[in-house]
């Protein structure tokens, strides 16, 4: 992995300067060269899943071709090598969120599983009937349904902190929702629908002052913000690989070491044990305790390369670039008649949700698609938020590091076409 990582980082660093060279970065993403319906692809759905740079694709192929075997068990060369690569990826994930120890990094199959792991394991070990879990109105279904399942099985109470009409989340809303029975605040770090960035440090301060733990759903935030779990002070942080330019089928759960150590296992199987007899089994220490079965080996390694890639481009530089394109998009879309931006919180990143008077988001998305513009239309797996906003659906254009002002221009031009058709 050292030569792999070294080479990809060095390649990408070749283009690094003080300002972000978006053209150079775009050249790393093979899919951006293709056309769709006779138009250059304008990919504005990175909040759903980001495209992959060739550094990630090449590295994964190379692992399969030169270094693949199952991990943690074999005494032969390839297994040792695969294990080393897999564990290096864990170290990269640790560095990415600045966890204290790599024992605090659990690989999962995605962000959803990371949250379900906390609900199932922390829930089973530490939450009992009447204990409260607080979420917010803007959660993705994956940070709602696991708690409802726990409500069914353990009798916990689910409380909901309100958002403002512009999509902002104020710390006072958490103050109002939290009570002495609150044991956990499970909340998004950034909204997938509105782009709102939530005040994570303040949320943690309030929760901890009330004796509650905090799980941050960082599936959207991890790729746009420079996340430092020690600085934020959260107890758990979940994110997914495929939204940070890595492969899918890999996610990360950061959990404070003492909590992970005290939590019961999530799933049972190989990898997660010390000793098994029919009478009694002793479990491995974290993170192995939470990684039953053969893990997503190559996806984890691919994720590590994606994280290297982001570091080599410079996360701050990427964030500044995206903020600039977002501001341009807000301004261009804001000038379109009968278009309403949904989600205008002062602190937001990389997501442009909107509705057009009289035209359903699905019809908008179909017309945009025919112009090569890929956006998402629908409830974005956040139906309670849609109900809160009084909307059935929105159109969502979301940005990645490869997004440009030209992408916004193409979106606006395609929206003209929508108006042409629908009047």
């Amino acid at each position: 992995m050292n030569e792999l990582a070294g080479r990809t980082a060095a390649e990408a660093r070749g283009g690094a300067s003080r300002t972000f060279d978006v053209a150079r970065a775009r050249a790393d993403f093979p899919i951006l060269k293709r056309e769709v319906h006779g138009h250059p692809l304008v990919y504005l759905d990175s909040a759903a899943s980001a495209q992959k740079p060739r550094q990630v694709l090449d590295a994964m192929r190379e692992v399969y071709e030169t270094s693949y075997a199952n991990v943690h068990r074999g005494v032969y060369y390839l297994s040792e090598r695969a294990t080393a690569l897999y564990e290096e990826a864990r170290e990269k994930a640790r560095r990415f969120v600045n966890a204290r120890s790599r024992h605090e990094i659990v690989f999962t199959k995605g962000g959803t599983e990371a949250i379900n792991l906390v609900a199932a394991s922390y829930g089973r070990g530490f939450l009992k009937a009447g204990d409260e879990v607080v979420v917010s109105e803007l959660e993705h279904h994956s940070n709602i349904v696991p708690w409802q399942i726990l409500r069914e099985s353990a009798g916990i109470v689910l409380k909901v902190a309100r958002i403002e009409d512009d999509g902002d989340f104020r710390p006072e809303a958490l103050e109002r929702a939290i009570t002495p029975r609150t044991r956990l605040v499970a909340i998004s770090h950034m909204s997938n629908v509105l782009g709102t960035v939530l005040p994570a440090k303040e949320i943690v301060a309030i929760a901890h002052a009330h004796g509650a733990k905090v799980l941050l759903d960082g599936c959207q935030a991890a790729v746009h913000l420079s996340v430092d779990v020690q600085e934020i002070g959260c107890d758990f942080y979940a994110f997914t690989g495929h939204k940070v330019y890595g492969p899918n089928a890999i996610g990360v759960l950061y959990g404070r070491e003492d909590l992970l150590a005290a939590m019961p296992p999530y799933q049972g199987g190989g990898e997660m044990i010390k000793l098994v007899t029919f009478e009694k089994t002793t479990f491995a220490d974290p993170p192995a305790k939470f990684e039953a079965g053969t893990p997503p080996i190559v996806p984890a390694i691919g994720l590590g390369v994606a994280l290297d890639y982001l570091e080599s481009l410079g996360r701050e530089r990427i964030a500044r670039h995206e903020a600039e394109v977002l501001a341009y998009g807000m301004e261009r879309l804001g000038r379109i008649n009968r278009l309403r931006l949904v989600g205008t919180a002062p602190s937001k990143a990389s997501v442009l949700s909107f509705v057009l008077d009289e035209v359903h988001p699905h019809d908008v998305a179909t017309v945009l698609d025919r112009a090569g513009v890929a956006v998402r239309a629908g409830h974005h797996c956040a139906q309670p938020l849609m109900q809160r906003l009084g909307l059935a659906a929105t159109v969502r254009a979301s940005l990645g590091l490869y997004s440009t002002r030209s992408d916004i221009d193409a979106l606006v031009a395609a929206l003209d076409r929508v108006k042409e058709i629908f009047g």
């Binding site: 769709v36 319906h37 699905h362 017309v367 009047g423």
Partner: protein, 172 residues
């Protein structure tokens, strides 16, 4: 791009989408059902009055959705009045065939009725939108069969569309 879109969003569709016919509940329907498409959140209620001879005397709907789903529901209510349940079923089969580009099946539907639904046939170039066009029909079927609810995802039969194959009408 232009031709596909023009064929999908024909004037008839746009007009029915903006001004749906038979919109609103019936006073005393003999059958009703709620349909929804969990993928997009579209919701529809269909109300039907069937007489003792099995003839659809009245049919209406209410709901929210895209231009395709609203226009399809509207056209459906227009074409179904006075039809027997068997004729309605045959028409649905023909319509499904039309939407998916497989025009077999639906024996027994009158040519004239099928033609009235023809404006929706443009949807066959847009595989992911076929469910929008068929939601109202699935809901009608559920109502007549005495099932109160239907989802485009829970009923194999309700899928309507074959899974879009890679490249099919995505590449040009």
């Amino acid at each position: 791009m232009t031709d596909d879109l023009r064929e999908l969003y024909q004037e008839v569709i746009l007009e029915h989408g903006r001004h749906p016919r038979n919109f609103g509940p019936l006073d005393h329907p003999t059958h009703a059902a709620h349909g929804h498409n969990p993928l997009c959140g579209d919701q529809i209620d269909v109300f039907v009055t069937v007489d003792e001879a099995g003839v659809i005397r009245d049919v209406s709907f209410r709901g929210r959705g895209c231009a395709i789903s609203v226009a399809s529901a509207s056209l459906m209510t227009e074409v179904l009045r006075g039809k027997t349940e068997a004729e309605a079923r045959a028409l649905f089969e023909s319509f499904q065939g039309m939407c998916t580009g497989r025009e077999e099946g639906g024996m027994g539907a009158s040519e004239e009725d099928v033609e009235r639904l023809r404006p929706l046939s443009g949807v066959r170039q847009f595989p992911v939108r076929v469910k929008c066009a068929t939601l109202a029909w699935h809901t009608l079927k559920a109502a007549i069969e005495g099932r109160g609810e239907v989802s485009t995802e829970e009923d194999e039969d309700a899928a309507g569309a074959p899974a879009p194959t890679p490249g099919q009408s995505h590449d040009e």
